[in-house]
């Protein structure tokens, strides 16, 4: 099973006619993802990799009974695209787009909450339930079916860690990029809750980084709820100089709660083992399997 996406996911691609949309639709189809339609306003009627393209999400969703969307549209149009998906009753939305203004993201999340929808991202590699569904841009060959659930704030670092797990014989139930922006949809706590309920998931890896307090909130949740499943963490940015921007706004060091040290201590205080290097995640988990 895994969480959020699986063999029953019927996805549309918003922005399917753009370079990235087209390229990754192909890769998702190759992986076996059930992409049922694409949407690009003004391009209705054409086909991309045999997938029908519509002018509106409403048409695409209704005709193909879609239940998920992956968004590739440029940042200035991402808010609109998400709203359009929400209004068409799509309740699982992966926003790949990066550089979305914070003001727009805040509106996206508020409207999604009103609609009880799951937003993954923005600025995420997406989500993959290996062997069932890939709704994202991650290199598929890295991932294998298994029992480790991964939730990560970082894109490529997730691949790094999943690759390490796979090479050590540890497959994944679902691997989830939360997105690298200051404002994202799904967070660690919500992902933890889902992984706890998922029967296939036996262990959970949380990949954090400097900035914000999502890791601290996860630690607090773990302290209160004491999940039965094994949890391991990694936090990137120990050596990031405070106050400097590390590539995206999500990584600005904001006070103590934003530092890697603070996050690592928060995890360790509640009994979560924290890997020093990405490759140590696999070593820590391997001991238990």
């Amino acid at each position: 099973m895994g969480i959020i996406v699986n063999a029953n996911t019927r996805a549309i691609v918003q922005g399917i006619t753009g370079t990235q949309g087209r390229f990754h639709t192909k890769l998702m189809l190759n992986y076996g993802t059930n992409i049922v339609a694409g949407v690009t306003p003004g391009r209705g009627g054409m086909k991309i990799h045999s997938i029908p393209v519509y002018d509106t999400v409403k048409e695409a969703a209704q005709r193909h009974e879609a239940n998920a969307s992956i968004i590739f549209v440029p940042a200035p149009f991402a808010e609109e695209a998400t709203f359009e998906a929400l209004d068409a009753n799509i309740r699982t939305i992966v926003i790949i787009t990066e550089h979305i203004p914070i003001r727009d993201s805040i509106q996206i999340m508020a409207h999604a909450k009103d609609n009880k929808a799951i937003i993954i991202g923005p600025n995420t590699p997406g989500i993959i339930t290996p062997g069932e569904c890939k709704l994202g841009i991650m290199p598929a060959q890295i991932f294998h079916q298994g029992t480790v659930g991964i939730a990560s704030r970082s894109g490529t670092l997730t691949y790094e860690i999943a690759d390490g797990l796979t090479k050590n014989g540890l497959g994944q139930s679902t691997c989830l990029g939360l997105g690298g922006d200051p404002i994202v949809g799904l967070n660690f706590v919500e992902a933890l809750k889902m992984f706890e309920k998922d029967r296939k998931t036996k262990a959970i890896a949380l990949i954090g980084e400097i900035g914000g307090n999502a890791e601290e909130q996860a630690a607090e949740y773990i302290a209160n709820k004491k999940p039965a499943k094994k949890i391991v963490a990694y936090v990137a940015g120990r050596t990031a100089p405070p106050g400097k921007r590390m590539g995206h706004a999500g990584a600005i060091v904001l006070g103590k709660s934003g530092t890697a040290e603070h996050k690592i201590r928060a995890f360790e205080n509640v009994g979560v083992k924290v890997a020093r290097k990405p490759c140590d995640i696999a070593k820590i988990l391997a001991k238990d399997f």
Binding site: L27, S105, M109, P125, Y159, P182, R245
Partner: protein
Amino acid sequence: MKLFEYEAKEILKQYEIPIPRGELATSPDQARDVSNRLSAPFVIKAQVLVAGRGKAGGIEFAETPDDVKAVSARMLNIEIKSLKVNAVWIEERLKIKKELYFGITIDRSKRSYIAIASFAGGVNIEEVATKTPAQINKMIIDPALGFRNYHARQMAREIGYSGKAMLTLSQMFRKLFQIAMAYDAELIEMNPIVETIDGEFVAVDARLIIDDNALYRHPQYKKRLLLENKTELTATEIRAKKAGLAYVQLDGDIGIMGNGAGLVMATLDAVHLHRGKPANFFDVGGGASESQIVSALDILLSDPRTSVVLVNILGGITRCDYVAKGILKAMEKCDSKKPLVIRLVGTNEEEGRRILTETGIHVLDNMDKAAKRAVDISLGR
């Protein structure tokens, strides 16, 4: 993108938020001329894009236009936190009864804007927040409603004002929110708002950081961002930014480039663990094009501070074959003898690896090993 105090104050003025009368000067003579148009006493403030300029000699007082000239001459000659002072802001000094704080920023965990007010302004608000959190009033801003007049009035009440003073103050709060929205502020604050002994409220300092991702909506500032002498960025940082790349200068000797902030940070961490010193943080981001890879490597290879360059690419949107071609082109272009350590896996990995191996470049597939190799080279091991 940080705005200069004078830029932020210009905006406040447009929104009819009271600020002290003042003008910008870029030379000591101009500073004196400016102060002749103002009333004594004066404040001279260095226009630099760093916090804490006061302690670094960036804020001084003067009684006469000649004093202003002398102070400005000194200030226009210094560097504050390694940034040159190119301009000073001269303004009238107020008679202070009380200093307040009001700001708006992002609350990540609530996924919304948050308004912050305090009757203990004028000092580092983070310090107040840590030591006496009860003196900080916060209000999460409902994204659907925004920050309305009654929200502003509530906050003015909460920091102790009522009646007409509350109305006046709340209008300033509300306008600051309007500015925050109009300018896509990541952070905007008036610190301090001075309540003068005459009972007026005046925004004496203003900070405004525009969300970089929203700069396309604010072309006038986007343009200014990359003007030399008008930015907090180093020349290399400007160069990287123009190429659409995220670069932060550090003080070591191992040039590092990767795709994805998390991966690059992890690479920095790994280099540290092996006791190496990164020269920089360099994220070429998702879906980097061949020409961006060329620009990035060009910057690193031509940097005299770097003794070795570590490339760590794990392709998702970024395609390994593009990266490989970029690396070859960059090497051709720079004709550099600097050793390159390349780690390349992910989308179109085989093709990328083939391109590089064919020209005799060795490619690693393990990040930790690549970090170690780079450190070994830098330490001459």
